[in-house]
Subunit: 171 residues, 2 copies
Amino acid sequence: MKYGVAIFPSKKIQDVANSYRKRYDPHYALIPPHITIKEAFELQEEDIEEVVKQLSEVAKNTKPFSLMIHKLSTFSPVTNTIYMKVEQVEELMNLHERLNKADPIPEEDSFSFVPHITIAQKLSDDEHSDVYGSLQMQGFEFEETVTRFQLLYQLENGSWTVFETFRIGEG
Amino acid sequence: MKYGVAIFPSKKIQDVANSYRKRYDPHYALIPPHITIKEAFELQEEDIEEVVKQLSEVAKNTKPFSLMIHKLSTFSPVTNTIYMKVEQVEELMNLHERLNKADPIPEEDSFSFVPHITIAQKLSDDEHSDVYGSLQMQGFEFEETVTRFQLLYQLENGSWTVFETFRIGEG
């Protein structure tokens, strides 16, 4: 099965993200707005309880941290993906690092971790310029505390279901 | 905010349910296939941590139980909803009962609890007859163990995000 680990921001941020995703993100219906902290990985279903244990340990050894958003950004020209840029606070970066070292979770390719909440993707070049241009006029300012993250698995239709919640600082 | 409590069955059952929901359930994109064990209720966001505590207690005092599906059924003529009928094992019925007595969760109306996984709803009468007739020819036999349930909240677009997972027997 395919698994992944993500943070869901507050309802407030999710509602704002969805107001754009609805029009500009073909993954809109597959998963709520989120910050991926461990990219999708393949794992046998029987190994998942071991992963749960490891993630629980990681959660226990992490402190609640600030989720700060000050602006939009884009992955263009690599991909036409527009996102809310999540500030790279130390505890978030460490959390990502620890998730990559938790056996039996496969380690990620070595591209660098850019924490973000996608609000538009798979746009044409023209659409990307238009949407990015007009969205940049608007303010995106959020700050809240992250207290949990979730382990999810993917269904055959591409959508994601939560398997387990981990409380940061508790496990 | 609007909250609810649900069980997600295994990926296997969800994939089967989605193969029908995709065509016949307008809520297909709002939430994965599930068994509602506490209908949606309104609660102030600041009261949610108290609810989490209560649900954790309920989970601790529940034993893992069998989720058994032997056939389809329908809520017609009340509503044209077709569902996988979930056997009313004692522990599941008790879990529903306990969730209704856990302050500060508002108690439900007194209609009786029929555990089910919806696979089609909001059909016209003709569509309902056709779909129900043809689906009944197929076997729906599943048995698995339920080890967790989830507290979810609803976003402005009608979709649901998981807030917390509760492990049955653990909390």
